[in-house]
Structures are given as C-alpha cells and as structure tokens.
C-alpha cells in the first residue's frame, strides 16, 4: 500500500482518538485536535474561496471579456461586485468602516427582497393549499378509503392534519389567554408539538449514531495489519499520554 495512504491512516486515526479523549475529560490532546480542525478547515476555505470565487467566478471571466471586447463597457461589469466586495473589507479600517455599510445594504437588501415573495409562495400559500382539503370521501373507496390511516391523503388524516396545524398555530398565538376553549386548543397543540419533538429526538439519535458508526468503521479499517495496526498503537499512546497528563496535573494540584 502507498506510503502516503498508510501515513494518512495513522494521522486520521490519531486525530480521531485525540478528539474522543474528550470523553475522558477536557484535555490538551482534545484541545489540540479541535484547534487543528478549526485551523485546517479555515485554511481549506481560504484556498477554495480564492480559486473557486476570485479566479473562476471573477478574474478569468473578466480578463476573457476584456480581451474580447476592450471597448465595450459591458466587459467590465464584473468590477461592480468586486468593488462592493472590497468595500466589505473596510470593516477592518475604523476610519472608513462605514463604507462597508453600502455593500451590506446591497446584499441584505437583495436577500430580503427575493426572500419575501418566495417565502409567501413556498412556505405559506403552498402549505395552506395542501392543508385545505374536502373532508368527505371523494372518488371511489368510500368510508374505508376515508378511514385509511396508512394513506397520508385520506380523509381521516386530513382532519388530523388540520387539527394539528390549527392547534399548534394557536399555541404560538400570543394575543389571547389560554383559557376555556383556548385552553383546550393550546393543550392539543402542545401534545402535537411533543409528538413531533419525539420524532425529531428519535431521528437525531439515529443521526448521531450513524456518525459514530462511520468513524468506528474507519478506525476498524485502520487497525488492520496493512496499516501497521495504526488504531491499536495510537489508542495505547493516547491512553498513556492521558494518564501522564493526569498524573502531572495531580502533582501540580498537590504543590499548589
């Protein structure tokens, strides 16, 4: 197997174990791994931002169009976003920091503008449209089709959906006290909420466990002979250094 692959396996396994050492307690190995992580991902972002945005999106197209049609002002249009982008960076020069406001105004204005009609369309109208349905059984199938819980669109489920949406909306309605019928609706709402949270809970557990499984699979791979038993060796090293650190800390504690 290629040297860099084996080396990679050792590095990957080591860093993984460093992070897991937090399970014992917060310790230098973990902090080391964590800061490496931040540093490397920021570095990666810088490199990609440069090549993918500055070079591909800006420099190459601009120079191309300028070479093709130097006289045409349209060739220089990409300078506008570049200037706006540069203005953002004036944040770091207190005297002219206010210039950055112009570009933020531009970006935030655009963002807010495009968001409004699309939000209304996708998150409000479309949702209302799908909630408003006839309750009486339509088409064939009759009552049995109406009572079919397995079919999300069936009549009974339509009713439940309507009750759920309205009662939860009402729970987040702050202009009236939750008393009398309001009380009943709000309670219904909260129970619906709890069931949904339960589902979210279950799914979150599922996700987290999947991540763990993924990492463990790698660790198992790296513990193979072809990788020089990287995981096992490094596990031993990590435990040892943790113990050493613990002892050191104790002693310091003793003196202090």
């Amino acid at each position: 197997m290629a040297t860099e692959t084996v080396l990679g396996a050792w590095v990957a396994a080591g860093l993984t174990l460093f992070i897991y050492s937090f399970l014992y307690k917060d310790n230098p190995l973990f902090k080391l791994g964590e800061h490496l992580y931040v540093g490397i991902s920021v570095g990666y972002s810088v490199v990609l931002a440069w090549h993918e945005v500055f070079v591909k999106q800006f420099w190459t197209p601009l120079s191309k169009s300028v070479v093709e049609a130097p006289a045409d002002p349209a060739s220089y249009v990409l300078l506008i976003p570049a200037v706006l982008g540069l203005l953002m960076l004036t944040r770091f020069v207190p005297q002219i920091a206010w210039l950055s406001r112009l570009s933020f105004a531009f970006v935030v204005g655009f963002g807010s503008g495009v968001a409004i009609p699309r939000t209304v369309s996708s998150y409000i109208l479309k949702q209302i449209e799908d909630t408003v349905n006839s309750l009486v059984p339509t088409g064939d199938g009759g009552f049995s089709a109406f009572m079919n819980f397995a079919l999300p669109q069936s009549g009974v489920n339509t009713i439940i959906l309507l009750i759920g949406v309205v009662s939860v909306l009402f729970y987040f309605f702050f202009s009236v006290e939750h008393t009398g019928p309001g009380m009943v609706t709000a309670r219904t709402g909260i129970y619906f909420l709890m069931i949904a949270f339960g589902a979210a809970f279950g799914y979150t557990v599922m996700s987290r466990m999947s991540l763990l499984i993924g990492r463990f699979r790698d660790l198992i791979t790296f513990s193979g002979a072809e990788y020089g038993y990287a995981t096992l060796v490094l596990l031993f090293v990590t435990v040892l250094s943790l113990a050493g650190w613990e002892v050191g800390a104790r002693r310091k504690g003793g003196e202090g």
């Binding site: 937090f22 307690k25 917060d26 973990f30 902090k31 964590e34 409004i116 009609p117 209304v120 369309s121 996708s122 409000i124 109208l125 479309k126 209302i128 449209e129 909630t131 408003v132 349905n133 006839s134 309750l135 009486v136 339509t138 088409g139 309507l162 949406v165 309205v166 909306l169 009402f170 987040f172 309605f173 702050f174 202009s175 009236v176 006290e177 939750h178 909420l193 709890m194 949270f197 339960g198 979210a200 809970f201 979150t204």
Partner: protein
Amino acid sequence: MIVASILLLLLTGGAALAAPPSLVPPEGFRVLDTPNDAGKSLSLVWKASPADNKDRKVEVWAVESPSADFKKVAEYPANTRYVKPGDFPWWSRPVGQGDHYVKLSSSKAFPIEDGRSYAVKLLVREGDQEVWSDVSQAASYPDRFNTAQVNNLIFALAFTGILLASIAAARRNPHVHLRRIAGLDAVEEAIGRSTEMGRPILYLTGSGGMSDVSTIAATVILGEVAKKVAHYDTTLKVPHRDPIVMAVCQEVMKEAYVQAGRPDAYKEDSNFFITDDQFSYTAAVDGIMLREKPAANFFMGSYFAESLLLTETGAGTGAIQIAGTDSDHQLPFFVTTCDYTLIGEELYAASAYLSREPVLVGTLRGQDFGKAFIMGVLVFGTALATVGVVVQTEIFHYVLDLFKDFK
C-alpha cells in the same frame, strides 16, 4: 384533481359508447400569446369533445412566415392536455376548465420571435380519416406582470400593512395585552427556591452573538431575572463565550439592580468570560455546576450540541432548569431535561412581554394577526371545500383559488 378524473372518466366513457363518428374539426380552436410569460411562446386552446380518445391524434401545424408553408410542430393523443384544477387561477385562465391547453415554446424546430404573427392550425386524424381546423393567428409578447401570482402580491402587501399598523399602534401603547407565558412564572419560583437554599443561580445566554434575535431575548430576560435576584440578593453567575454579549449583559444587570433600588448589591464579576471554544466552554460550565451546585439553571438563547452536556449535568445536580431557545434541533433535549422550556417563538414573545419594546411588541402583534387570518382560512376553507364536494359545485373555487400558489 378529482374533478378532472371524473371529467376524464365521463369523456372517455362517452367516447367508448359513441359509434365511430365521422371526424369533426376541433371546436373553438384559438392560438394566443401565452399569458404571464417572458415571451417567445404561444398557447393553443380548443374545446374538449366527448369523442376524444387515445387513438385519435391531434397534430399542430404552424407556419413561420407568410411565404413558407405549414409544417408539423407537435402531436398529442386527443384525450390529453386538459386544463386541470390548479393549473390556472380563475382570474387568469386562457380557456375553460377541462378544455384543451397546449403551450408552444420557441424551439430549434420551430423558433418563435416576439411581435411576429404566426399562423397555426390543427389536424385531427383517427384511422384513415383526417380533418383540418381553420387557421388561427397570433403574435407572442413578453408580459409585464404575472397575473397568476397577484394573490401572492396581495398577501405580501396586506401583511406589510398589518405589520406597520401594529408597530405604529405599539409605539402609541406598548402595553397591549399579551398572554402569560408559563415558563416566565417559573422564574419567580426558581429564584425563590435558590434563595431559601442559599445557592447561586446560573444563567447562560447561549452561543449566539448580539445580532441573533434569540441572544437579544436572552439578555432581556436576564434583566428581568436580575431585578428579582437583586430583591432577594441571591448570587447570579453568568459565564460567557462572547465578549460583546458579556459587555451588554453587564450593562443590563447594572441597570436592573439600579431599577430594583439595590445598586450596591451589583457585583461586576457575576458576568465572566470563559472561552469562545464550544466544548471547552461547556466543560468549564459543567465544572461550575458540579462545584457550586446552583439551585437554578437558566439556558436562554441559541444552542448547539453543547445543550445536552449542560442540561444533563444540571439535571444531575438537582437544580430547577428553565430553558428558552429557538434552536429547534435542540428543543427535544431541553424539553426532556428541563423543568420548563420556552419553545421557539415563545422566547421572542417573552422578551417582548418583558421589555415592551414597541418594535418587538408590534411585530409580535402583526404576526398574530397573520396567524389568526391563516387559522381562519384553514378552517373556513376546509368547510367550503367539503360543501363544494357534497353539493358537487365548482363555485367555491372563486374563494379557494385565492389561497393557492399559482405560477
């Protein structure tokens, strides 16, 4: 959908019954500029006929320029391309419900330019019979407004009006009625308890910066807690992970102690900075919980994975825990590990309720009007839809279409 299927059923059924009739040209054939588009496209419409069936083909023949002669552009089975409910709103429907509608876009085979008139005719063929429709002409134009989405625009404008009105109203009187929020009542109890136990109170403002609505809400609620704490003079500890938020919280607390008439009791060091690093911060706060055993823990603001570690340790030390967050991915954990939880918008509501800041209160009211309206639409709309099906009428679509999303 249903209506369409019934319609289709009738039509095909009818076709099956009828003896193979001699072909008649499609009734009411027209070509027109496609409505609500950016141009470069024409629309063809013609009436549905009981004789439509899958063996009968409809061919579209068009001519680019007067000089050139007609050529075939497209072909469909005669029992397809019906206008279904939901395709068009009643206020911008080029042809009747259930009739035929075909959109002809500019293509290599048949380029369509704006402002030029094109002649189109249909050829209907079944078996060896065939018959031509008469020629219809139209030109394509780009449109200035998409009328199909006018309901979307109205909704947006109406909501703007309501929002501005309610903010203005709140500026005049910020003390409009807002409902009590259970989580806030618990605050009193928690503070009382920690006073009698002589233990400190721990208050976290979450991981967000000052630009997060939830962090702002957290600082507002901190002010309220501080006021009560000042009365009882219990110790309040606020560990931070963002220097700016810490500075704000110091001001808020000082102010609260002054309002409570106990400026002397305020301690500068009750706000303190730990680290901006997520897990190290969490570990440190857990340490505080285990050493000082606070009787009450408050978790307000936005949280990520750390929420679990914090609330778990807190639950272990037997403290009353009150949470408030809009981080929905963490809510399930807060609900199961804390005694009270302000869920999502409740957190914003709480801060409006306490601060009575006109914009906050006004926005909350504005959204309430919006919600009330939508709840009404849902209930009333369902009733209409049901009645519509019972008495077999399309009439209610004039109302229901207003709350659908058209393109």
